[in-house]
């Protein structure tokens, strides 16, 4: 057996890497170096002298890793994702965007298979554009949450291999987020994370934001925006130290995090958002002078 581990090939003699384990099929993805094996044969059609000729099989899924977090505050929500595109033990891309800025109030972040992430994001973006044209207003957080759930369940028997978090501010201006599984089960919460570091980050957030498992009887103070951002950055840098599929620090040892403020929803990502994907909105009855003075986005590097 070749001791040199090549990306995409399985290595049964090495300990299995931790990975998201929702369904049994998905669980095997991490152990098979990124490619799922539904028929029990090798990922690639190779000839192995020890085991005889192998058969090719249909391999629709890959686990590209990544973690996404959303933490909601009183009137804001911080949505963050890491930027590593993994495939087994390899890193095909260091900078991938897992976020989709849907509108001023809603941001989606998705971990899992990048191809399904891209397609899901495309579908949702078009659906939101259609809603805006038909209804004359942006989709609210609650409406988007249901749309995403329905879109995922629509593919119940050939799912999008995606683990989503949706964050933003609702119609009352209060911050909320939603966590999803691959087929659309969702829950409205104040703090959620999913992806490969879920089991590492979620307990920290439960403790620091929700005050769970605190035995000193002190109530947890509500976090400000700056404190939330720092907490999320710390979560990622810690998770990145223990989870090979998540990166918390860039090559210089600094968190290369890029914050984009959208009115009351904040997006934190290690990758500059591609502005062409952010559609401008139908602005009813406003002259250019008025529109330009209402800057809805500020950006700064942290």
């Amino acid at each position: 057996m070749d001791p040199l581990l090549r990306p995409g090939h399985n290595a049964p003699h090495l300990p299995a890497a931790m990975g998201p384990g929702y369904a049994d099929v998905f669980d095997r993805l991490s152990r098979q170096g990124g490619r799922v094996e539904t028929t029990g044969t090798n990922a690639l059609p190779t000839f192995d002298a020890h085991a005889g000729a192998k058969q090719a099989s249909f391999q629709p899924y890959q686990n590209n890793g990544g973690s996404v977090v959303a933490v909601a505050g009183k009137d804001f929500c911080v949505v963050a994702s890491d930027t590593r595109f993994g495939l087994g033990f390899a890193v095909p891309t260091r900078m991938i965007s897992r976020n989709l800025v849907l509108n001023d109030k809603v941001v989606l972040a998705t971990a899992g298979m990048q191809a399904d992430t891209c397609t899901l994001h495309k579908v949702l973006r078009i659906r939101l554009d259609m809603y805006r044209q038909n209804h004359g207003k942006d989709m609210s957080l609650g409406a988007v949450s249901q749309l995403l759930s329905n879109t995922l369940y629509y593919k119940r028997f050939f799912p999008y291999y995606t683990f989503n978090v949706l964050g933003g501010v609702d119609e009352n201006g209060e911050g909320f987020c939603y966590g999803y599984d691959a087929i659309g089960s969702h829950e409205k919460v104040k703090v959620v994370c999913t992806g490969s570091s879920q089991s590492l980050i979620q307990p920290v957030l439960d403790n620091q934001v929700d005050g769970k498992q605190m035995y000193d009887g002190q109530p947890v103070a509500e976090l400000s925006l700056e404190q939330t951002v720092e907490l999320v950055k710390d979560c990622f840098s810690s998770a990145g130290e223990r989870d090979i599929y998540t990166v918390g620090l860039d090559g210089r040892g600094q968190p290369p995090l890029y914050v984009k403020i959208l009115k009351l929803a904040f997006v934190l990502t290690s990758h500059p958002l591609r502005s062409k994907y952010t559609r401008s909105h139908f602005i009813q009855g406003q002259s250019p002078a008025v529109r330009d003075s209402q800057t809805t986005t500020d950006t700064y590097f942290t």
């Binding site: 078009i126 139908f282 009813q284 009855g285 250019p288």
Partner: protein, 266 residues
């Protein structure tokens, strides 16, 4: 246009080689209220006159967003325009989904034209009774197109359709050569002045915030509509023009040393 025995059917030619039903459909466009469009190298502006059926009714909207880089102004049967709007939006979404790039205007207008043509060659259909001015900005620059019920489409530097649009076209013909280098503000000024030509002859209509709407799109400028109170600042150019005309009239009078015009002369 006189009634004759060859005009009942869309599938019947006249001996002169005309299909009268198509021409009648184009008449429907001329019944709609005026719509004016003009472009520079970087921006396109559409100005519309919104009609209302009564004081109680709202004024019918004539500007529609198709995508953030395209919009249309309609003249004619509003219901047909709704159908075409839905079709154009779907085409743009599809193109964006498949190619991850905004739909080029020429292809969008071609799709509308082909759809319109189908309706002129089926016994079971009638032509769309609406003309569009399609304004947009794509990788090849700013464009203004006109579509017809006949299935024809044309690109223009500036154009007007609808009732009394000839007056607007006359104004545009005088000034269009200067449009290419103008700023957005100046383009809007010309659009309002051109639109005003269509109501100048009629004594009881003037451009107000209620019956005027404006829209523009261009480089770094997504489709933006200006309606209701926001139109006010654009209509100020009309007051400025009036003052200018009065000023010129005064100067002319002084030059020729004629006595000022009497109050009952206009």
């Amino acid at each position: 246009m006189f009634r004759n025995q060859y005009d009942t059917d869309i599938t019947t030619y006249s001996p002169q080689g005309r299909v009268h039903q198509i021409e009648y459909a184009m008449e429907a466009v001329k019944q709609g209220s005026a719509v004016v469009g003009l472009r520079s190298a970087t921006h396109v502006v559409l100005a519309t006159l919104k009609r209302s059926s009564s004081e109680l009714a709202s004024n019918q909207r004539k500007l529609f967003e198709i995508d953030s880089h395209v919009g249309i102004a309609i003249a004619g049967l509003t219901a047909d325009a709704r159908v075409l709007t839905r079709f154009m939006r779907a085409e743009c979404h599809n193109h964006q989904y498949v190619y991850e790039t905004p739909m080029p205007l020429s292809r969008l207008v071609l799709a509308v034209a082909d759809k319109s043509q189908v309706a002129t060659q089926r016994a079971s259909k009638r032509p769309f009774g609406v003309g569009l001015l399609v304004a947009g900005y794509d990788t090849t620059g700013a464009h203004l197109y006109q579509t017809c019920p006949s299935g024809n489409y044309f690109e223009y530097e500036a154009f007007a359709i609808g009732a009394r649009s000839q007056s607007a076209k006359t104004y545009l013909e005088k000034h269009f050569e200067s449009f290419a280098a103008l700023s957005l503000e100046e383009l809007c000024r010309h659009a309002i002045l051109a639109l005003q030509e269509t109501v100048a002859s009629s004594k009881d209509t003037e451009l107000t915030t209620r019956n005027t709407a404006l829209a523009f799109v261009g480089r770094d400028t997504p489709w933006t509509m200006v309606e209701d109170d926001s139109v006010e600042e654009y209509l100020l150019v009309l007051d400025a023009e009036d003052e200018l005309e009065e000023g010129d009239a005064d100067a002319a009078r002084q030059q020729t040393q004629q006595p000022p015009a009497a109050m009952d002369e206009s």
